[in-house]
């Protein structure tokens, strides 16, 4: 796509403002995480401290089992992502390529659950998990998140862009569904699967309300819960430590995004199939 230079100047200004608005909080968080609390209060707008310190990070590692918490977050996000992608992909495959009675109705019902607010399912889920004896455990956090209508929706859309004739050729060659899925559909849907996975990972990584309900002991905490420890009224607000935890919280998803960004952008701009 070509934009003539005359058009591009105002557009660039818009882009720059947008980028500034998006980047500023991150730079602010990184900058503040290296300041002492006093320094931060005295010069809130200076992005970087003249006397940078690691004491905020030190505080986090001293006051909470920080490594365990990071590992918990990573475990939960990974397990949730793997299960969600597998269940979404299998369901999407069935919805696109299987012929069965009531398929459209079933799909409609499933997709309509996207519009259910989390708060509607929160209490029933909580009761089920605690009756299963899984409260204050990582499995309790993971279990209700293993399937996802939004993932099914996204992957169904992606699979629908694969020309049906490709599947028909494979059917004529007596391929099993398993072979078709592995050798044809999955490679062609890889950009969509990758970006959906990253999206799942980031959502699970950032999840706050549900872990707050389930997890009680600090050694089971996830990073967003740890973060909350430093800004709640109980612990007293120590916002430079909170900023340090924020930085740790965002590093992993950010790294993932940078690694796979070409897939993410690809999914939103084209189906990836020519």
């Amino acid at each position: 796509m070509k934009i003539s230079k005359k058009v591009s100047v105002p557009w660039h200004i818009v882009f720059l403002i947008t980028i500034f608005l998006l980047i500023f909080p991150i730079v602010f968080a990184v900058g503040s995480s290296f300041k002492t609390l006093q320094d931060a209060y005295n010069n809130p707008l200076s992005l970087f401290s003249l006397n940078p310190t690691l004491e905020n990070y030190q505080t986090f590692f001293d006051s909470l089992p920080a490594l365990q918490i990071t590992l918990n977050t990573f475990l939960i996000a990974s397990v949730v992502t793997i299960f969600k992608v597998v269940t979404s992909f299998l369901a999407a495959y069935a919805f696109v390529y299987f012929i069965f009675k009531g398929k459209n109705t079933l799909y409609f019902i499933l997709i309509s659950t996207i519009f259910l607010p989390f708060t509607v399912t929160m209490i029933p889920n909580y009761l089920i998990i605690s009756n299963l004896g899984l409260s204050d455990s990582l499995w309790g956090v993971v279990l209700p998140q293993l399937a996802d209508a939004m993932g099914i929706f996204l992957l169904t859309q992606a699979l629908r862009t694969i020309p049906v004739s490709l599947i028909e050729v494979a059917r004529l060659d007596d391929m099993s569904h398993w072979q078709i899925m592995r050798d044809i559909v999955l490679p062609l849907a890889r950009p969509a699967v990758t970006s959906t996975s990253i999206w799942f990972f980031i959502t699970a990584w950032n999840e706050y309300v549900w872990p707050v309900l389930i997890l009680k002991s600090t050694e089971n905490f996830t990073l967003p819960l740890a973060l909350q420890m430093y800004i709640s009224s109980e612990g007293g607000t120590n916002f430079t430590v909170a900023m340090a935890v924020s930085v740790i919280t965002m590093i992993i998803p950010l790294a993932l995004y940078l690694m796979f960004q070409r897939y993410i952008i690809g999914t939103f701009t084209s189906s990836g199939i020519k």
């Binding site: 004529l172 007596d174 050798d183």
Partner: protein, 370 residues
């Protein structure tokens, strides 16, 4: 026994009947063309053979076996799709051998078949390219190669040449015939292009609105159409169809009449039709400026340049008659004389639209394409 037999086969989607009733046999080793206008059910028919569509009622036999409930993969068919359906993430070579590898065909055998196909379809040197890096003609040849290496009994092609330009089409047609001569599969070929049908087909099955109109050799479909639809669909410009009355050895159009041979008189008398229509191809009507024996007059409406010839559109008793002429000198409004070549005329029953048949002794006069 690699024949395909349709027995009262119907296909409907909800209340829409796409294929109304098919009852015919495709012989072992022949090239049968399914021809017809868009939406006539030809692709659906092909997809029923492939097993990609269910049959609503009736029976389909392939190689002597009832296949109504046999899945695609077990029907021994290879198919070439209109959009080629090449796997975009696989190279040319992978596309060609993928199905063979999955079927656990011995490696030596795969290599041999691949070599054969690459040579025959001139794909050597392109083995490691992806489909997106190929031209349309090359993609089409890869699709053919992929179907050929299966060495299936039945070879189905769904408008395989329609995405190619005119020149490539001619060479692709020849390639296809070459493939068939080598492997002798039973070929079913769907097209809406009558030139393709004439050049590739051993027989043509002409469909319209889900009904088989005629199934016969290209020569017979052209020269002895079974009904008005066939006469008008095959050939360009289409066959002229005119209202007529038979009277005493003559065919009468309005107040003008034309003598016809005795053979036709007998044929008309034998036919029990009360109302008939007359058909004649544009190339079988002579046009002239001066009257001669057994001519009728008409008025020129317009002239169309077809390159080699001119199509002259005439007003003849308020009906349009198209005549082909090598001369250019025809002007709108001019009165001209026409003389249909009665050796090539057709007469159809007006009610059923079916041909009333052809006089016995005229059979030998049907010219045959070389």
């Amino acid at each position: 026994m690699k024949e395909i037999r349709f027995e009262n086969v119907k296909k409907s989607y909800g209340n829409t009947e796409v294929v109304k009733e098919l009852d015919f046999t495709i012989h072992e080793g022949e090239r049968l063309i399914l021809l017809g206008p868009s939406g006539c059910g030809k692709s659906t028919t092909l997809r029923m053979i492939a097993g990609l569509e269910n049959i609503s009622s009736g029976n389909l036999y392939m190689g002597g076996k009832l296949v109504n409930d046999v899945p695609s993969g077990k029907r021994e068919v290879a198919m070439v799709f209109q959009n080629y359906a090449l796997y975009p993430h696989m190279t040319v070579k992978q596309n060609i051998v993928y199905a063979l590898r999955m079927k656990k065909v011995p490696k030596k055998e795969i290599a041999a078949r691949l070599e054969d196909a690459l040579t025959m379809l001139q794909l050597r040197g392109l083995e490691d390219r992806l489909p997106k890096d190929l031209s349309g003609g090359q993609r089409q040849r890869v699709a053919l190669a992929r179907a050929v290496v299966k060495q299936a009994d039945f070879f189905l092609l769904d408008e395989p040449l329609s995405n190619l330009d005119a020149q490539l089409r001619v060479s692709a047609r020849k390639e296809l015939v070459k493939i068939h001569e080598k492997y002798k599969q039973t070929i079913v070929y769907v097209t809406h292009d009558q030139i393709e049908a004439m050049t590739v087909g051993d027989r043509i099955a002409l469909l319209n609105e889900g009904v088989l109109q005629m199934i016969d050799t290209p020569e017979n479909v052209y020269h002895r159409p079974a009904n008005i639809f066939t006469a008008k669909f095959i050939g360009a410009p289409p066959t002229n169809i005119l209202e007529m009355v038979y009277y005493d050895g003559h065919i009468q159009f309005g107040f003008q009449k034309m003598a016809i041979p005795d053979g036709w008189v007998g044929q008309i008398k034998k036919a029990k039709s009360t109302e008939m229509v007359f058909g004649i191809r544009p190339e079988h009507v002579e046009i002239m400026k001066e009257p001669r024996e057994n001519v009728m007059f008409a008025t020129v409406k317009s002239v169309e340049n077809l390159g080699a010839e001119y199509a002259v559109y005439l007003d003849f008793h308020n009906e349009e008659v198209i005549v082909l002429s090598s001369e250019k000198e025809w002007h709108a409004g001019e009165q001209v004389y026409i003389r249909p070549n009665v050796q090539h005329m057709h007469i159809f029953d007006k009610a059923t639209t079916n041909s009333i048949g052809y006089p016995e002794r005229m059979v030998s006069r049907v010219p045959v394409f070389n």
